[in-house]
Assembly symmetry: C2
Homo-oligomer: 353 residues x 2
């Protein structure tokens, strides 16, 4: 393994320190680790996300005006602990409450739920929303239900803008759920990533083999397959997303009024001919921008065929899996509300408008 690291056990903290030095508008706390926007606005809902490190710029790179208020990074591909989210909530709540944006991985869900309870017990009003946009698998190595992947970036941007505009806590949460139900993703890996602590690739793919539906930790997807042309692979991703209809799941949400958990059942808004979408073509780390544009070129053609109009796009490495060569496509159906919020100003290390 060759990486620009020092001791394996210091990777996350040294990276955070570098980030804090490069972005002095953010404050980075360690033990427990969290990054937050020092310029807190009184009465604005605080948005906090987090998860294992290794997906940069997600989430720390999205902290700033118009997006996240704070991010809680775990060790690489390891959930953050409840004290991180609890401390971040305490540090950033200005009275309007806190929304936790949680990618659907068992460890993340559990630890964020514990933090919800800890914070509410202390009188900090916190509720949660689950991101589960990956159509690849129902249950996987790390998840019951679908995994949270590229849709997280879209949700953080849109709900970040809403918080900035003064949406209250409940409205921010309902909006996040709406974006999630309108968003679906699929990823493909050409190579594995290498986790520093493991020192070798997470899995082996031979010279002509790829992983369809891969997760952002390199966890298995739908199937191994032979390498094909970019156009064929783009068609595969588009079809999997487009043909995925009416996914229904039951999730656990903190009921602000009842001050307790509540189970709710939600069904996706399926994508159909005539819809308007945001199209997000993402590098999983090692795939160059030029290849993302080749994919975007074909994706546009496929959307045209279905009379689906791409009204906005995002192309680049935004939710990665260390050095993995691979891509994901995320499509979010938008109405005027979502589009206006997408277009709102944002100023974070990784996304600026």
């Amino acid at each position: 393994m060759k990486k620009f690291i020092n001791k394996v056990e210091n990777v996350v903290v040294e990276s955070l320190k570098g980030m804090a030095l490069a972005h002095p508008e953010l404050e980075v706390k360690t033990n427990p680790h969290y990054i937050y926007n020092k310029n807190l606005s009184k009465g604005k809902v605080s948005l906090i996300s987090g998860g294992g490190s290794g997906h940069e710029p997600l989430h720390g790179g999205f902290v700033g005006k118009g997006m996240l208020t704070a991010a809680c990074p775990g060790e690489i591909f390891t959930s953050p602990t409840p004290d991180q989210m609890y401390e971040a909530a305490k540090a950033t709540d200005t009275g309007a409450g806190v929304l936790f944006i949680v990618k659907n991985y068992t460890g993340d869900v559990l630890n964020f739920e514990t933090a919800v309870e800890m914070a509410n017990a202390e009188g900090i009003k916190v509720t949660n929303v689950l991101v589960d946009d990956d159509v690849a698998v129902k249950d996987s190595l790390y998840t019951a239900g679908r995994r949270g992947v590229g849709g997280t970036v879209i949700i953080e941007k849109i709900v970040g803008a809403a918080a900035e505009k003064g949406y209250n806590l409940k409205d921010c949460r309902e909006l996040a759920k709406k974006v999630n139900l309108n968003t679906r993703s699929l990823g493909i890996a050409l190579t594995s990533c290498t986790v520093p602590a493991a020192g070798k690739p997470t899995f082996d793919l031979n010279d002509n083999e790829i992983e369809l539906g891969v997760g952002i930790h390199g966890e298995p997807g739908q199937k191994r397959s032979e390498m094909e042309s970019s156009d064929k692979l783009t068609e595969y991703m588009f079809d999997e997303i487009f043909n995925d209809k009416n996914y229904t799941r039951t999730i656990r949400e903190w009921d602000i009024e009842a001050n307790d958990w509540k189970d709710i059942t939600l069904t996706d808004e399926s994508l159909k001919d005539g819809d308007q979408i945001i199209a997000f073509v993402n590098s999983l780390g090692g795939t160059p921008l030029s290849e993302l544009y080749i994919i975007y070129n074909k994706l546009s053609e496929l959307c045209n065929k279905h009379n689906i109009k791409i009204v906005r796009n995002l192309v680049g490495p935004y939710i990665t899996s260390l050095d993995m060569q691979g891509v994901s496509i995320t499509l979010t159906k938008v109405d005027d509300e979502l589009l206006n919020l997408w277009d709102a100003p944002v100023n974070t290390p990784a996304i600026k408008k």
Copy 2:
């Protein structure tokens, strides 16, 4: 070789088409290929750069308000042809003339010079500036003199802001030269990249071997070495840049008044204790952002030791070598003029402020 491509011969044109679809504020022309900002301002100097593809987002990703007016992409790692620059100049000159920003590679220099002559013969006032910021080697596989690398990004940003503010053609060129003389870079590769047309890695590095002073096409640098810690490698890069003093070269510049070539000799402004700098930590493609921040963390410490103040920074993949794992550091000494121009608004696909 596994890549998101279709036919090898269509990589550049399909990528450009995708880029045009994703960024409709830019216009992409093919045969000859160039990308330009459709919103031309009358009386503003046109800035045009270009070079082989494979370094994305450089240069196409830097076209837009406050940075480049146009970019001319060649095939991968292959110089663009003179007709590309000639047509781009014709399309974007609004009367204030055109500055070609040319990375110092023999093919680029030759073809840009031919384009300078073609354009001036047609009455389009064009002059040129050479970027040669790489301290690694004097002459290399593709270059007589030093190579143009990360400094190109800094020059394009600063001179782009100047053109926007109304600097005339000669002042834009003098400014570009000033930034170049104040800028030095060094890169390190952990792996080779794979050029699609070759189908296999450009060079072989074993599991514990790295290339110090690598070029952005994977061309050899100073030496092969054993892998070391990130801190050690960062020290190496910093020392090579800091200890490089008074580099002098003679370059060929188009004299606007005489309407002919002129040889001029220029000497670098050496970096010394007490200077203010922009620090740019760049991924060569496959190195994750988290590792760039680990490098930035150490770089800050080294600068502090020398009482060099990092007043601005840029951290991310901005001048890449396809999928190469590796990084480069670029340090630019700045005064108030350069700093104000660095801070000016910019709106391009890859850099926004």
